[in-house]
Structures are given as structure tokens and as C-alpha cells.
């Protein structure tokens, strides 16, 4: 999706405001949103790709007007409804001080994660590397490639600024879960992931610094031989 989240290369957002020793959370609701969010992966039953996709669907004006954890809230509300965990009316009712219906959603029978499980669960993580997947590389390190100029309305991890651009394969990370499929519930569909270097001049034109480059990790379906 060519959404507002895909903001690499845009101007006029103002200067970066460094904050060297800020707290991890600035508001209590941010703290709560973070904690609940991560647990919702299991409780609602969605993947990271689905989570990103939901967050990206925050309406563009709202995306720019609100802060990061509000995007997360927006994503969680969207996923809860999509996954059948609750209805929008139910959520609104609870916001207004009412009660939600008991049960609901495909994960209602799932075992609830307890506090003592958190640290081991997060230290374990869940890699999306799929070294066992049988996908031979189409490209090799040092090869020139051209990124495709696709413009899917669905989730993708090829930013607009890097489409239709010439780069060089710098590394082959092996097979990884393909977000474009996984976010759409079309399976993991592992694809080879490559580190690709683009010169700043290729991305931004002749006025860019000759010395500089941008590196992106790109899935094989994003690439063509140059």
C-alpha cells in the first residue's frame, strides 16, 4: 500500500527533535498500550505482518496527527474487529463505561499467558528466518538488480522511494517469511531476502552526495536482473 506510513524521502516534516535520556514511555496510556499490544499477538491471534498492516491502515490524517502508540491503538482496534474478538459497538460501549459481552473471537478458548511467561517468551522471540525452505537464490552477491515498480494496494516492504531503482546485491540473508503474503493470510511463502545497496544519486538524483548509499533488505519478488 502506498500509504502515509511510507514516508521515506518526504520533505516538510520539520527537524528531528533529539531526546537523549527520555523515559521509555511518556504517558501511562503509552505504557499500557505497549504491554497490551504485545500480548494481543497471542490473545487475538495475529502475526507481526498483520499488525504492521493494521497500523498502516490508520487513516492518513490521523496517522500524522497522532503519535506512535495511538497508531498501535488504532491497529489493535481494527484487528480486534477483523479477527472477530469483539465488535465495534462492543468496544464503543465499553469506552462509554458499559460492559463487553463475555467470550468472543477465534482465540477465546486459548490458554491465557501469565506474567511469569513473559520474559522467557520475549527472550525466545520468533525468527522469520526459514533456512529450511527450499528456495534457491535467483541473484548472487555483487549482482546488479532493478527493483520492480509495483504499487500493490496491499502490504509490502518495498518503499516507494526504492521502486524502479538500480542497486547491487550486498548480501544474501537466506529465506524469510514473505510479508506481502503473510500479512494477507496467504501463508508464509518464504522468499530469499537480500541486502541491497543503492547509491544516494540513484535514489535522489545527481544533487545527492556521491559518497553515500542506502541499504535495504529486499525480498526476491521485489527484484529483477538489471
Amino acid at each position: 500500500m502506498n500509504g502515509i506510513h511510507d514516508m521515506g524521502g518526504m520533505h516538510n516534516f520539520g527537524p528531528v527533535e533529539p531526546e537523549e535520556n527520555g523515559p521509555v514511555f511518556h504517558e501511562d496510556w503509552e505504557r499500557q498500550t505497549f504491554g497490551l499490544w504485545i500480548l494481543c499477538y497471542g490473545a487475538m491471534g495475529f502475526s507481526e505482518d498483520e499488525s504492521r498492516n493494521a497500523i498502516e491502515h490508520t487513516p492518513p490524517a490521523e496517522y500524522l496527527w497522532t503519535s506512535y502508540y495511538e497508531h498501535v491503538l488504532s491497529g489493535l482496534e481494527r484487528l480486534g474487529v477483523e479477527k472477530g474478538v469483539f465488535t465495534e459497538d462492543e468496544l464503543l460501549a465499553v469506552q462509554r463505561g458499559g460492559k463487553g459481552a463475555p467470550g468472543g473471537g477465534p482465540k477465546a478458548g486459548r490458554r491465557v499467558i501469565g506474567p511469569e511467561e513473559i520474559e522467557p517468551m520475549m527472550r525466545e522471540g520468533g525468527t522469520k528466518h526459514r533456512p529450511e525452505a527450499d528456495v534457491a537464490p535467483r541473484f548472487k552477491v555483487g549482482q546488479e538488480v532493478l527493483t520492480r515498480n509495483d504499487n500493490p494496494e496491499t502490504h509490502t516492504r518495498l518503499p516507494r522511494y526504492a521502486r524502479g531503482k538500480r542497486g547491487v546485491i550486498e548480501s544474501d540473508h537466506g529465506p524469510y517469511v514473505f510479508p506481502d503474503s503473510n500479512a494477507m493470510l496467504q501463508g508464509e511463502n518464504p522468499q530469499r531476502l537480500y541486502g541491497v545497496r543503492f547509491s544516494a544519486v540513484e535514489l535522489w538524483g545527481p544533487d545527492a552526495s556521491k559518497a553515500d548509499g542506502v541499504y535495504l533488505d529486499l525480498f526476491e519478488p521485489y527484484l529483477e536482473p538489471a
Binding site: G9, W29, T33, Q95, V112, I118, G125
Partner: protein, 196 residues
């Protein structure tokens, strides 16, 4: 008609998160104590002090540094750091001639096990939009001016690999212990927006 263009009124986030948690707890899907444990883990236990230890070791031990640059995930796991949002780590070495900085233009991917959760500016539009098109301008916002002949490498972490910058060891730190060195290492240095 007059209002059809007005943005929808957003409920306060305090009310939204409270309702969401109440709803999910009520449905028996979430244990509130687990939410608290999750917050505690990333607010108090996992943070940039982890990454600082890794960097200090690399500054002190050439063999460890070689390993870290060759297999980031394994060398970092030596400290017990790993897992969510850091399963597949690559460490980028800053040198006299190469400066690395990390961004995630599409969302805010960040190596949690070594740096904790990202700072506000890392998730915001100014950094995400400018880091790839004007990295030197962004570095100036952070107070770092690089010579023209230094190669700036911007890593837009668009997939599941996570990046940690290994800053240059500051001058005059020859006699320092690993613990003392770790004190010098900043979060922003490991994102690559400042020197250490």
C-alpha cells in the same frame, strides 16, 4: 455538508486503551498481570545498557569484535541478549571513512534486545522521512558534522534483520576497563546518529 470534511473526533487514548484492556480481560483473553510484566521487562530490564556491554566488549576484545561483525546474533547471545525484534542481528562498524546510521522508514523496526524500545524521534515523521534522503542534515540535527569524504550508509530496516551500529572507540580510552567503556556508549551512538 459543512462537516463532511472534518476529521473524525478521536477518543482520548487513555479511554481507548482502558476499554481495550477491560474488554480483553473480561473475555478471558488477557491477564492484566502479564501486561504489567511486559511493561516492566521493556521499561526496566531491557534497554541500551545491553547494547553498551556488547560494544564495550568489541572495543576491548579483537576476537569478540571479529565474531560480532561476522555473526551478530550469536556474539550478542553470548551476553544472554536475544529474542523478540533481535532474532537476526547484523552489527555495522563505524570507521574513519564509513558512518552507519539506522532507520525504519515504514514503521519503526528497532533491535529491542540490545537497545530496548525506540525513542520518540525514531518513530516520528521527521526522522523517518529525512534519514534516507538527507542523512547528513539529520546528523546535523544531532550535532554531528561529517567530512564529505566519509561514506554515509543508511540502513532502512525494511525486513526482519535488525541493525546495531558499533561506534568508533573514543580517543584516550586506552586504559579503560570494559565496564568503564560501557559507560561511554550511548543509545544514539548505537543507532548511528551521533559519535561516541
Amino acid at each position: 455538508m459543512a462537516t463532511h470534511r472534518s476529521p473524525r473526533q478521536l477518543t482520548e487514548p487513555e479511554i481507548r486503551i482502558k476499554a481495550l484492556e477491560e474488554l480483553l480481560v473480561g473475555k478471558g483473553l488477557i491477564d492484566s498481570k502479564a501486561v504489567d510484566a511486559m511493561i516492566d521487562l521493556y521499561e526496566n530490564k531491557v534497554g541500551p545498557r545491553n547494547g553498551a556491554k556488547v560494544v564495550a566488549r568489541a572495543w576491548s576484545d579483537p576476537d569478540y569484535k571479529a565474531w560480532l561483525l561476522k555473526d551478530g546474533s550469536a556474539a550478542i547471545a553470548e551476553f544472554g541478549f536475544g529474542g523478540a525484534e533481535g532474532e537476526n542481528m547484523i552489527v555495522l562498524e563505524n570507521t574513519e571513512k564509513v558512518h552507519n546510521m539506522v532507520v525504519c522508514t515504514l514503521c519503526s523496526c528497532y533491535p529491542w534486545p540490545v537497545l530496548g524500545l525506540p525513542p520518540v524521534w525514531y518513530k516520528d515523521a521527521p526522522y523517518r522521512s529525512r534519514a534516507v534522503i538527507d542523512p547528513r542534515g539529520v546528523l546535523k540535527d544531532f550535532g554531528l558534522e561529517l567530512d564529505d569524504d566519509v561514506e554515509v550508509r543508511v540502513w532502512d530496516s525494511s525486513a526482519e534483520v535488525r541493525y546495531l551500529v558499533l561506534p568508533r572507540r573514543p580517543e584516550g580510552t586506552g586504559g579503560m576497563s570494559e565496564e568503564e567503556l560501557a559507560e561511554l556508549v550511548t543509545r544514539d551512538g548505537m543507532i548511528g546518529v551521533v559519535a561516541v
